[in-house]
């Protein structure tokens, strides 16, 4: 894969070679590169069918990056530069099927450097090519603002969609348990601005498209990696005639009436929270069996706080501990009057939407609630 820092608009435009096929079966008949600073567009090209009977003229705006923001800008520039008898066309390193569909809807042609594209002249011409993989990795400062630690910015924007300043947003993220520096928050915001999900004006930050943001968070979410190793409460390997990976699950039976939340909270260095799936009953009508799952940042420390006895059958455990470094599990938690730290509604939705059919059904309710709250 090529890093697209190595691509510039000049080299991209050289792909318009007279006599060669641009997007099968369309052939480049003429090409005029417009290099001057006063030019409104980057090139003017003529495309024709192989038989050459009919010629179509396009004004081309090229962008070396393929973010939604860059594409939106290129479309606007191509339209503005259009002269009589010309049709707007953009050129970027890569066009996803989703982007091609959007261009088609807008009646704008677009080609990429990977072999994908759409060329459209309303009522006369319609050529589409999709499915070629992206060979140009985006080189923006933060490649994915919807996953991992960076996703805490998106989560905070779903909790409160407008922020007067970046530093206030960063402070709120820190208060909710997110460990991100101001530059990291800035990069995440910028990446979402480029994706047209967030807008930034005079320093203030506004969530423009909560629906798409939620979808992005959902599709990018991955089940937390469980980092524990097989062993008993004391960390000794479990002896069994029938060794099983399930022995590595830390199901525990606790003394009756034990205040486990208090026991865990007594260790200040321990991060812990009930997982999203186990917190779902707090936000929706949802019955589920099995023990309450608790995410912890340090399994050994959590075990020493709780005591109890190991339970090999998950369904017979009172609690199941999951050691994880996933920041999302400890972000934006809600503590109830008993000191239980519940996962926030967004975390509950993320886990359920990736779960079984019954969980996905409940996830729909949570999604509606989240979107309703963000729009209020």
């Amino acid at each position: 894969m090529v890093k697209n820092t190595q691509i510039n608009e000049e080299s991209m435009l050289s792909r318009f070679k007279v006599g060669e096929v641009l997007l099968p079966p369309l052939v480049v008949r003429t090409c005029l590169i417009l290099g001057g600073p006063t030019e409104k567009a980057d090139a003017r090209v003529e495309l024709a069918m192989p038989d050459g009977h009919e010629v179509f003229r396009f004004v081309v705006e090229a962008k070396a990056r393929a973010t939604p923001q860059a594409i939106q800008l290129a479309v606007a520039q191509a339209r503005a530069a259009r002269e009589e008898g010309e049709w707007p066309m953009i050129q970027v390193p890569y066009l996803s099927p989703e982007r091609i569909l959007e261009l088609e809807k807008e009646g704008v042609s677009g080609v990429d450097l990977c072999g994908n594209g759409v060329v459209v002249v309303p009522g006369r011409l319609w050529v589409v090519r999709v499915g070629e993989p992206n060979r140009y990795r985006d080189s923006r400062p933060l490649s994915n603002p919807y996953r991992g630690r960076s996703a805490m910015v998106a989560r905070m924007l779903l909790k409160r969609p407008r922020w007067p300043t970046l530093s206030e947003l960063a402070a709120a993220i820190a208060a909710a348990g997110g460990e991100l520096s101001l530059p990291q928050v800035s990069k995440a915001v910028q990446a979402m601005v480029e994706d047209l999900i967030v807008s930034k004006e005079s320093g203030s930050i506004t969530l423009r498209d909560p629906l798409r943001l939620l979808d992005k968070l959902g599709s990018e979410w991955r089940k937390p990696r469980q980092t524990w190793k097989s062993g008993d409460v004391a960390g000794r390997p479990v002896k069994s005639q029938f060794p099983s990976p399930l022995h590595s699950r830390r199901g525990l039976r606790l003394p009756k009436g034990m205040d486990w939340a208090r026991a865990l909270s007594l260790a200040p260095s321990l991060q812990w929270a009930v997982t999203g799936a186990s917190s779902a009953t707090r936000y929706a009508t949802f019955s589920q069996g099995g023990p309450r799952q608790i995410a912890v940042s340090n399994l050994g420390l959590a075990l020493s706080q709780l005591g109890g006895t190991p339970e090999p059958v998950p369904n017979f455990s009172d609690v199941e501990l999951m050691e994880t470094e996933d920041p999302g599990l400890f972000f934006g938690t809600e503590t109830d009057e008993n000191g239980v730290r519940w996962a926030g509604k967004l975390q509950a939705w993320l886990e359920l939407q990736a779960g079984d059919a019954r969980q996905q059904d409940t996830a729909k309710d949570l999604r509606d609630q989240i979107l309703k709250e963000v729009r209020e």
Binding site: S240, Q241, F242, L246, G289, P312, P314
Partner: protein
């Protein structure tokens, strides 16, 4: 699948009989075999919040198996009690069951139609040497002195060892049921599966008999897996006590050997024939549970 989705074809026949037995001295009779498993599955489907080792919703094959037999495990105290014998025999007769000519006094048959019979069998563990008022051989356990036609016998079932310990009780549509503790029930089913499998593997047997035996072995092995899957927390907690009580018996040791040779890992015949009915995770939990019980040989 919910309990409403399952039609219990045998309920009109076995239901009234079990209700009458429960109402009197037969209240501690255990329902074992396929029908006992069937009833427990029905009960769990109606009570999905009861935690079990593998919830029925996670079974890949949760179709209850069909049975036309009712296997009852009776306590030795009941066999030695003349009054109880008379009462139970009267109830069995009242519901249209007659003594089988082939297996008199422990097997009872009811003719349902010209082509269909249903069977009730009474089973009991082999009594200890010091049990009073009983006599037993490898076929039957009976009262001493015998009550003749006024009483019943039980089929000697040494694998029912420990059946008096920690039975599990539940209700299905107002009918009280007790099933054996899962350790004893496993011993019975493990032994049945192994016996049948050995017949199936014996080249001296006819092809027809081997094929029949193989199907029976698979049925019993699946019963083992299902009965372990349906173990709840109370039964699981009581299991070590049962194991402690029976672990020195030859039946337990034989069952432990069967577990090690046939149920312990994926290369063995049970996994080969039944692994598609269970997820790897479920099968591991079941194997671990069996391993936990049957690794404690004395």
């Amino acid at each position: 699948m919910s309990s409403l989705d399952i039609h219990d074809e045998m309920r009109p026949i076995f239901g009234p009989l079990l209700s009458d037995l429960n109402a009197g001295q037969g209240k501690n009779i255990l329902v074992a075999g396929g029908y006992g498993l069937f009833l427990k599955q029905i009960w769990l489907l109606g009570n999905p919040d009861v935690p079990v080792i593998v919830p029925i919703s996670q079974w890949r094959d949760n179709t209850p198996r069909v049975t036309k037999d009712l296997d009852l495990v009776v306590g030795l105290d009941l066999i030695s009690n003349a009054e109880a014998q008379k009462e139970i025999l009267k109830i069995i007769a009242k519901h249209g069951f007659k003594v089988s000519e082939k297996n008199p006094r422990w097997q009872f048959i009811k003719v349902v139609s010209e082509t269909r019979n249903v069977i009730v069998e009474l089973h009991a563990p082999f009594p200890a040497d010091n049990e009073r008022g009983l006599q037993a051989d490898r076929i039957r356990v009976k009262r001493k002195p015998s009550l003749g036609d006024r009483g019943f016998h039980a089929r000697t079932n040494p694998e029912a060892i420990g059946s008096e310990l920690s039975p599990f009780g539940f209700e299905v549509e107002g009918m009280a049921i007790q099933v054996p503790n899962p350790v004893t029930w496993s011993i019975m089913k493990l032994t049945a599966a192994d016996d049948r499998w050995k017949h199936a593997e014996n080249p001296d047997n006819t092809e027809e008999f081997r094929s029949f035996s193989r199907a029976q072995a698979i049925k019993h092995a699946q019963d083992v897996l299902r009965l372990v899957a349906m173990v709840n927390r109370d039964e699981s907690d009581a299991a070590p006590v049962v194991v402690d009580a029976v672990k020195t018996t030859s039946e337990f040791k034989k069952a432990a050997l069967i577990v090690a040779e046939s149920f312990a890992h994926g290369e063995q015949w049970v996994s080969q024939v039944l692994s598609e009915n269970w997820s790897a995770e479920s099968l591991t939990l079941i194997r671990d549970t069996l391993g936990g019980w049957f690794s404690q040989t004395a």
